[in-house]
Symmetry: C2
Subunit: 163 residues, 2 copies
Amino acid sequence: MQTEIGTSPGSQLLPVLSGLVDLLRQLQEPDQPSSVALTVLRLLSEHGAGRVTDLARLARVSQPGMTQLVGRMEKAGLVRRVADPGDGRVVLVELTAAGREQRVRTFAYHAATLDALFEQLDPHDSDAIRQALPALTRLVDAGQRGMAAETQSAEPVPARPVR
Amino acid sequence: MQTEIGTSPGSQLLPVLSGLVDLLRQLQEPDQPSSVALTVLRLLSEHGAGRVTDLARLARVSQPGMTQLVGRMEKAGLVRRVADPGDGRVVLVELTAAGREQRVRTFAYHAATLDALFEQLDPHDSDAIRQALPALTRLVDAGQRGMAAETQSAEPVPARPVR
DNA sequence: TATTGTTATACTCTATAACTATA
DNA sequence: TATAGTTATAGAGTATAACAATA
């Protein structure tokens, strides 16, 4: 830890990442799926039906929070609950056709927004980003593995509660 | 727009970005500054004192929302309100020493988390990401310029409200 | 007993509308 | 009248604790 903003890879990536997060926040609109809902759509789209518990862990929300979100998404027609034939306690969540369409539409909208930004870039910059994508993917994967072993993570910094 | 997930730069960047957003969401804890609060800390840290209206625009929240957030941050001792000598309507928001420290600590904590992920990467991957950072910075800048001219942005896709 | 999921409850955050003060 | 900011109010979203059902 340091008191000055450093030159480590993480220190350099972080402001960029914060800016990208702000950009995506701009795309959030009322009546559009929330950030976590989009994560669920993506997870179900990529991995098929999943348990509430697994979705909660992967989306990094509490289990009751995921139950509630799945309830809202079910009411919106995006997912359905299916009983697990092998274990009566388990609820499997799967995409409906509408959920799949929503996922594709929202993905296309967000991708188009990013594409519009790419068009403003020097081709050299676009190439640099494109070439970093596999590495960034592996960085995210490392983060998800880190999640699996979540107990030994560092303590968050002390803070004055912003409440 | 397309119904299949495409191969445009935006389409390829988006899933990576979503994963990174999920990663950062994991770092959000109760009693830590929220995502928007961190944005405000960053803006004030980078650009000095600013108006409520400007902060609201740059952080992409409503003006009343920013008033409320500034109120919470003020109560937490992170910022203070200062009258603008030239215009009695204006309230300038500036960082306190505690706010500056909070910003540095949180930045260091997030950066350290990212650094831990970088250590799990192949050096070749780290280099690829490092080399893309200037380009990503310019991509974010393009997005902020797009914000300034916010009126002609595309309509969000139709959606089933997830409520 | 442990695990999966839900319900009950409370709280944070944010938005829109209405309002105050200054230009 | 227009602009800067605040206050009032309501609603979305999420968490913790308590609960029900199944293993």
